[in-house]
């Protein structure tokens, strides 16, 4: 049997149409778009312009408000560092939500070193921002808030509009990481009211190695990569024309097919979730039950460790993720790198449980048959691991639960 890929929160396979759109820009139109005066540079320049338009359309922005970067990570870095540095004279405090991706959170030391202070705003048990806490954390000196739009580990979608309204009144900027949402659910940056928003191509069947940043017209932002005059001066470096074209095509397809995809995914994830709930005891679903990304099913299972579960799923031909989808800790140099998922900790899951979490992230090509197969193997794997677990043995003897 083919592999079952339920790890679309880590990355998605490239769409054949996207690859086909890209290929001519490797060979026939390989020129440097900065070489505007020679034929070789002209088609690539035109193609970038069109792709920018496509990405803008996906989130109801204007073409001039979209710039391309090397990754969603870079977009998040450009937004936070760029807005912080451009607004240094107004204040030095920045607020991150507790469930931001590492590409936001791990900027903290760098920013602190430059004289900024980072405050953190809490989320509730579903991962939704705590507005009361935000109100308490905001100070006269606060210039910027980062709040993720859709969290890829627990699926929760944040109330960006409400937060934007709150912040606007106080003259505080809002950056939102739309890596998990742009192209997956309808996004209208004007309605959301964000100042900057990150987009990723490889989350929507585009290539890995390109991101985009929406920068609301008139927003001042200091570049972090300096050099030639590309991307309207916000990001230097010879343009990655094939990937920009691919991102444009992926955005176009995502916009056109979004409705049917969402319906399909809602059906699949309902089936998966209900199937798991009815066949596995002591399973705990994470994130918000309704305000969540379509096709996203995340949970932890008592008495079962997540990595072992993930490995057994893998051996059964199923790809999933445990802990943070994008930042496996395995590459870490030592044990110090093995931290419990900060997202799960933030929603109140005890650290010793976090490693037991699994994220199934489904996407357009997944099928009912795949869901059924996963449902058919899960109970056996869980039983096998529980039989091996001293925690489960203890529970049977004493009735002691993990929580």
């Amino acid at each position: 049997m083919d592999r079952i890929y339920f790890d679309n929160a880590s990355t998605t396979p490239i769409d054949k149409r996207v690859l086909d759109a890209m290929l001519p820009y490797f060979s026939d139109f390989f020129g440097n778009p900065s070489s505007v005066l020679i034929e070789e540079g002209q088609m690539p320049g035109k193609a970038i312009d069109e792709a920018r338009e496509r990405v803008a359309e996906l989130i109801h922005a204007e073409k001039g408000e979209i710039i391309f970067t090397g990754s969603a990570t870079e977009s998040n870095n450009l937004a936070i560092k760029g807005l912080a540095l451009a607004n240094r004279s107004k204040g030095r405090r920045i607020i991150f939500s507790d469930i931001e991706h590492f590409s936001i959170l791990n900027q903290a030391d760098f920013l602190t070193d430059l004289g900024f202070q980072i405050d953190y705003v809490k989320v509730d048990g579903y991962g939704i921002i705590d507005m009361g806490d935000l109100e308490r954390k905001v100070t006269e000196d606060t210039i910027l808030v980062a709040l993720i739009h859709g969290n890829l580990e627990i699926g929760t979608i944040e109330p960006i509009e409400e937060v934007a309204r709150f912040l606007k009144k106080r003259g505080i900027l809002l950056h939102s990481d739309g890596t998990g949402t742009c192209g997956r659910i309808p996004v209208d940056v004007k309605e959301l009211g964000v100042d900057t928003m990150t987009l990723s191509a490889h989350q929507i069947n585009g290539p890995k190695g390109i991101g985009a940043l929406y920068i609301k017209r008139g927003t001042r932002l200091t570049p972090i990569i300096h050099g030639g005059f590309q991307e309207m001066g916000y990001r230097a470096g010879t343009e990655n024309v094939p990937y920009i074209v691919g991102f444009g095509e992926a955005a176009r397809i995502a916009r056109e097919e979004m409705g049917e995809r969402m319906a399909h995914l809602t059906m699949l994830s309902k089936k998966l979730r209900e199937g798991l709930a009815s066949s596995i005891e002591y399973i705990h679903f994470t994130g918000h039950p309704e305000k969540r990304l379509p096709g996203h099913v995340s949970f932890w299972i008592e008495f079962v460790e997540g990595e072992s579960l993930l490995l057994w799923l893998n051996l059964n031909g199923i790809a999933s993720a445990s802990g943070s989808a994008c930042a496996s800790n395995m590459a870490a140099e030592d044990e110090g790198g093995l931290k419990a998922s900060h997202v799960l900790t933030a929603i109140g899951v005890p650290p010793e449980i976090c490693h037991g979490s699994i994220t199934f992230s489904l996407w357009k090509d997944n099928t009912v048959e795949e869901v059924e197969y996963v449902l058919s193997v899960m109970p056996g794997i869980v039983k096998r691991l529980r039989d091996m677990s001293p925690l489960y043995e203890n529970y049977k003897k004493t009735g002691a639960r993990t929580i």
């Binding site: 008495f303 079962v304 460790e305 990595e307 072992s308 490995l311 051996l315 800790n329 395995m330 590459a331 870490a332 140099e333 030592d334 044990e335 790198g337 093995l338 931290k339 419990a340 650290p351 010793e352 449980i353 976090c354 490693h355 037991g356 691991l385 039989d387 091996m388 677990s389 001293p390 925690l391 489960y392 043995e393």
Partner: protein, 128 residues
């Protein structure tokens, strides 16, 4: 199959753990846990004279933790207590064909469980 971070031996012990289970009337039991990592290991020993005649384990943990437990039981079965006490986590890790740096502590956990089980045995026997 392309290689992941775990050696073939680790994967073999993960998929087919040796000596998994409990020993109801164990002579020594050692239980250790590492809450930060989320691992929990329980080792059961059956000892006759000064020789370990049977060993079983139960482990809640990652692939490396399960394989380390399994390998530890294999390595100590038939050994004397003194021989078993000399078993280092490095030896477990080596027998497994190596562990990723971030997972070395799993073999330490196995070594700790073994030591605790042997202490438990000695305590029960009034030797310690």
């Amino acid at each position: 199959m392309a290689k992941g971070p775990y050696s073939d031996i680790v994967m073999d012990h993960f998929m087919n753990p040796r000596n998994m289970g409990e020993i109801e009337d164990a002579d020594g039991v050692g239980e250790v846990g590492n809450p930060a990592c989320g691992d929990m290991m329980k080792l059961y020993l059956k000892i006759e004279g000064d020789r370990i005649v049977d060993a079983k384990f139960k482990t809640f943990g990652c692939g490396a933790a399960i394989a380390s437990s399994s390998m530890t039981t294999e390595l100590i079965k038939g050994k004397t207590i003194d021989e078993a006490l000399k078993l280092s986590n490095e030896a477990v890790s080596e027998a497994l064909g190596g562990l990723p740096p971030a997972k070395r502590h799993c073999s330490v956990l196995a070594e700790d469980a073994l030591r605790l089980a042997l202490e438990d045995y000695k305590k029960k026997k009034g030797l310690a």
